[in-house]
Subunit: 351 residues, 2 copies
């Protein structure tokens, strides 16, 4: 592991769609954001809709008839890959806080090891939205030449203090929940309240004020749902956050969340070369598309501009798209009318 | 109280500076944001610096040699005015959640009653930053003709869902702290953790990403302050939030915080006339200055634009200033180089 420690025989969970070509030149690797699993798209083996169902699939923008698409569950996560919730082979007990410090470079290394295992030397395209975009940058500087093209979405060359503050507070909400118990909660139990609070703050940072103004305004919830408690749910926006928090409960292991959240804070491409500029200069790819969203305040537009400018040092063909979506950081998951054509166009141009 | 219930012999705490003129035409009333006391400025009786020390005082922009300046502690607060922490005369015990639902109109009424008590029929100027700005609007529609001039800073005609979401989450952090005990904590004790988390989220929403980028970047805290805990304070921004949260602890009563926070969510000038436009049309003042800040995401600039446009229906002289401060919602407390001259100019023009 980059910051010390080691994992014995770690597992990397992944899913694939499509067929690897004989020349092994059509592989597309997707690194995910903080919370998704490797299930980007439904398949005969798992017909449940994936987290990027409208983007990945036959005839979809990342066309699985044409590309061999791989999505990995990040090292440190809890959907099959080894993470703090996995048993430590030494003790048989979950690693919990005994898991070594996780960095996005470690997550990238997990992806590189998977490619070795699959016998893929060079990716057609490396795709990374959000945290996955930073992981992709880490991959590109550490494994030079392995990504022919790159598609970087709503990410940055490093985490800035505003995003760090928000994530640090989310982690504190979890750690301050008495049920966190220093990370030693029983599997499946744990800091439900802390996770719900953290998820609500997450939702607030993933969307935008403008979207909510249009969607909810000052609408109140139905009268029959109102209670006498003056601090219970009242506005629709409060009910919306509550519904999202409830849905998230039990889905994600709290310790895994802490590790991946902190890994995001730690990421800084400047660690690879001494400065952001020098780090980005090391990236070599034939074609890079960077997509940013005007209403994203977790990874604001100036970060994608910095990224595009820095990548132009070492890559001949870098295109930056600034999208006026109003759904904030989450736009790549919901504003399909804007993202679909751009991603389709990217792959058509990349050939 | 606007939403039902009544308070028996409530107290409104206030401070004054300067001298009321014989014609009683030089009174300036300040409604505060959510957390300050009435101590806007130091005085011989209380030499501690006030929360608006650089704005209020002799020769300062709100010149106490010229004006009789009054600052009230909001009804529902805990710095002398009656609020949820005050004893209910019926039981002798603190009101706690037995306090009636609080609105900013009730806070405004507290100010109006104080003016009656002081024998002031008409204010020279009503000044309201942040929550105090919404309170001032409530005052203006309910007590027509009592404010000759108005200075509204970093506020809006109503609370929008993004700000409601943030405040609702702050309240939930407090209510979910087991030490809140349904509001029945012993005086001076209570949900310290919840209050600290809420304060941290508050600080995040009061400042701006740009400011923190310039101020903190990715600076780490001194090595000697670092511990082995991978989730302890690491970045300077985390230490900054922690210091602010610690400072806030014990200063503000948690139940009072809940009531004032919720009062902010409830405010909507549309309740006075059927629409925002109709509500604002009722305001009559000779001169209104509205100040907004580009980096404020709690009360974004389009809210001050809406305010200025709406107030122009009933007020001949409305000026809107859009300041490029990078300190977000808190700019009126810290970006003195921009606020001092504007406020000085306002009072010079108002005569």
């Amino acid at each position: 592991m980059r910051r010390g420690g080691a994992l014995e025989r770690p597992v990397i969970a992944y899913e694939t769609w499509g067929t690897l070509s004989r020349t092994r030149d059509n592989a597309v690797l997707i690194f995910t954001g903080l919370s998704p699993s490797a299930h980007a798209c439904s398949s005969p083996a798992d017909p449940a809709p994936g987290w990027w169902e409208e983007i990945v699939g036959p005839s979809r923008p990342i066309d699985t008839r044409r590309y061999f698409v791989i999505c990995v569950n990040s090292l440190g996560s809890c959907f099959g890959s080894t993470g703090p919730a996995s048993p430590d082979p030494e003790t048989g007990e979950p690693y919990r806080l005994g898991f070594p410090v996780l960095t996005l470079e470690d997550v990238a290394t997990g992806g590189a090891k998977l490619l070795d295992h699959l016998g893929i030397e060079r990716l057609h395209t490396l795709v990374g939205p959000s945290m996955g975009g930073m992981t992709s940058l880490g991959f590109a500087v550490m494994y030079a030449g392995r990504a022919r093209n790159m598609l970087l979405i709503s990410c940055g060359a490093r985490s800035l203090p505003f995003a760090i503050a928000l994530r640090s507070l989310q982690r504190e909400m979890i750690r301050r929940d008495p049920d966190w118990a220093g990370g030693s909660y029983a599997p499946g139990h744990g800091p439900v309240t802390g996770m719900q609070l953290a998820r609500k703050l997450g939702m607030i940072t993933y969307r935008s004020a403008q979207e909510w103004e249009q969607r909810f305004g000052r609408e109140r919830i139905a009268e029959e749902r109102q209670t006498g408690d003056p601090f219970a749910l009242d506005f629709e926006i409060e009910a919306y956050l509550e519904a999202h928090a409830q849905k998230f409960t039990g889905q994600f292991d709290p310790n895994c969340y802490l590790y991946l959240s902190r890994a995001s804070d730690l990421f800084d491409i400047a660690e690879h070369g001494g400065s952001v500029e020098a780090g980005l200069k090391r990236v070599r790819a034939e074609r890079v598309v960077v997509i940013g969203v005007t209403s994203d305040f977790l990874f604001p537009l100036h970060q994608q501009r910095e990224l595009a400018a820095g990548l132009r040092q070492g890559c001949a063909n870098v295109v930056l798209h600034e999208l006026p979506s109003i759904q904030g950081h989450d736009s790549f998951l919901v504003d399909m009318d804007r993202f679909r054509p751009l991603i389709r166009e990217f792959f058509e141009a990349a050939g």
